[in-house]
């Protein structure tokens, strides 16, 4: 048996070189790809864990959001109810105000219409009364009635102020004595005499007819009119009635 030291040296070097070669071309590349795959797997697992955590967090957020939805819904409902109650109260108040205004307006209109109706009915009543009185008075025309109206005319002239009567005496234009029916000459003479006496002196008097007087005897001059007829009385009564109704 022999031992070759050259061979020992060569084999030692050969194995060292082989260790280096395999380290360079086999162990390191394969270990690198394994490490790379492991790192990728770890990263994938980490990503999955992160995604899982994120999903869990998202679920928690969704749950919180859903809980918030319920609270928000309750708050919105409460606010809506409050708004509705407020709006209803406002609408009721406005409706009450409008109803009060409409009621006041209606009352005022009803009152105005009542007044207008009352006025119209009063007017018609007065007109009817005057018409009735006119028709009744028209039946009373006669010598006795004309005499009474002459007396009332004389009394009215006598009641005039003295200055008025004096101015009437001084006038040259004759007074017009108007009657509803024609006076006969005797009545005219008697009337002229009585009127002159009432004025305190002779005055010129002409006579005319106005059926609108119904009955009576009126004296009309340039600046003086003495009303003395049913027509004048009725107009006076009608005016008083209207005045009383308006008052």
């Amino acid at each position: 048996m022999s031992f070759d030291w050259w061979t020992l040296s060569l084999q030692t070097i050969n194995v060292i070189v082989l260790i280096w070669l395999l380290q360079r071309f086999f162990w390191r590349p394969v270990a690198s790809i394994i490490a790379e795959r492991r790192a990728l797997a770890d990263k994938t697992l980490a990503d999955i864990k992160a995604e899982s955590s994120k999903a869990a967090a998202d679920l928690a957020d969704i749950a919180a959001t859903r809980a918030g939805f319920a609270a928000e819904r309750a708050a919105i409902l409460t606010a809506a109810r409050a708004d509705a109650a407020k709006s209803r109260a406002a609408q009721l108040a406005e409706a009450a105000t409008q109803a009060a205004a409409l009621e006041a307006t209606a009352k005022a209109r009803i009152a105005a219409e009542g007044d207008a109706d009352a006025k119209a009915w009063g007017q018609r009543s007065a007109d009817l009364g005057v018409d009735i009185a006119r028709r009744l008075a028209a039946r009373l025309d006669g010598p006795q009635v004309r005499a009474v109206f002459l007396d009332w005319l004389v009394a009215a002239i006598a009641a005039l102020p003295e200055a008025t009567r004096q101015a009437a005496r001084a006038k040259t234009i004759p007074f017009d004595a108007v009657s509803a029916t024609a006076l006969d000459p005797a009545e005219q003479a008697h009337a002229s005499e009585a009127i002159g006496a009432a004025f305190g002196g002779a005055v010129a008097v002409t006579y005319s007819i106005d059926p609108a007087l119904i009955a009576g005897l009126e004296l009309r001059g340039d600046h003086l009119i003495v009303g003395n007829s049913w027509q004048a009385d009725l107009l006076k009564i009608q005016a008083e009635l209207q005045h009383d109704r308006h008052g």
């Binding site: 061979t7 060569l10 084999q11 070669l21 086999f26 162990w27």
Partner: protein, 235 residues
């Protein structure tokens, strides 16, 4: 008659004789290197079946280092893994007709054991410094220093003698049976020789890990094969 244990030079490079073991080693180196280049040329994250096999080899070596030495495998992967692969391929070279395993020659096994001896020193110093490495000789007691020094040398001898004895005996046995019984009779013995070659490669690598682990100062893990430690003197 030439001893079958002698290494016959094939040729000379100057004064250096090139034996068949060296030439076979060069062939193994070339084949392993080219194979490595071919395998690692198209590594992908989605591995092919071939890539998966070689990744399994790397993972197995890493697992063995981790379980035997209880240290991260990166610094030791290339050394331990290459020892195992080289011895494994060298032992199985006998399957090729006319090729004699380099590990059947004492020089190759001695070279491997010498590398383990040097690696123990290198990794021990790198792990704990020179002082830390020398302290490992004083465990468990300074009285043990001479014995530990002798042990570090004798275990190196036992390491390469074991490998040499197993491989060489297998080659001899097959050669003798082949010369006596004809062509197909040695086949079962060759299969046994393959098994022995694989086991010896594993034993050599594990013992290298155990020796380095002792120098590095890591605790001996429970997974270390205790039978291998108690049979250090046996072939």
């Amino acid at each position: 008659m030439i001893s079958p244990l002698a290494s016959t030079p094939l040729f000379y490079l100057g004064p250096v004789p090139i034996t068949s073991g060296v030439a076979t080693t060069w062939g193994i180196m070339l084949a392993l290197t080219l194979g490595s280049v071919l395998v690692t040329r198209h590594l992908t994250l989605a591995p092919s079946k071939t890539q998966t096999v070689f990744e399994l080899l790397v993972e197995t070596v890493d697992t063995q280092i981790r379980e035997t030495m209880a240290v991260p495998p990166e610094p030791y992967r290339a050394f331990i893994g290459t020892l195992f692969v080289f011895i494994f391929v060298a032992n199985w070279c006998s399957l090729i007709p006319g090729v004699e395993p380099p590990t059947a020659h004492l020089e190759t096994d001695a070279a491997l054991a010498l590398l383990v001896f040097l690696a123990v020193i290198r990794f021990g110093i790198r792990a704990g410094g020179l002082g830390g490495y020398l302290k490992t000789f004083a465990t468990p007691s300074p009285i043990m220093i001479p014995l530990n020094i002798i042990e570090s040398i004798t275990r190196t001898f036992s390491l390469f003698i074991r490998l040499f004895g197993n491989v060489m005996s297998g080659v001899f046995m097959i050669a003798i049976v082949l010369s006596l019984a004809g062509l197909f009779v040695p086949v079962p013995l060759m299969a046994l020789d393959m098994l022995i070659g694989a086991i010896q490669a594993y034993i050599f690598a594990v013992l290298a890990m155990v020796f380095i682990s002792g120098a590095v100062g890591t605790e001996q893990p429970a997974t270390a094969p205790p039978a291998l430690l108690t049979r250090k003197g046996a072939p």
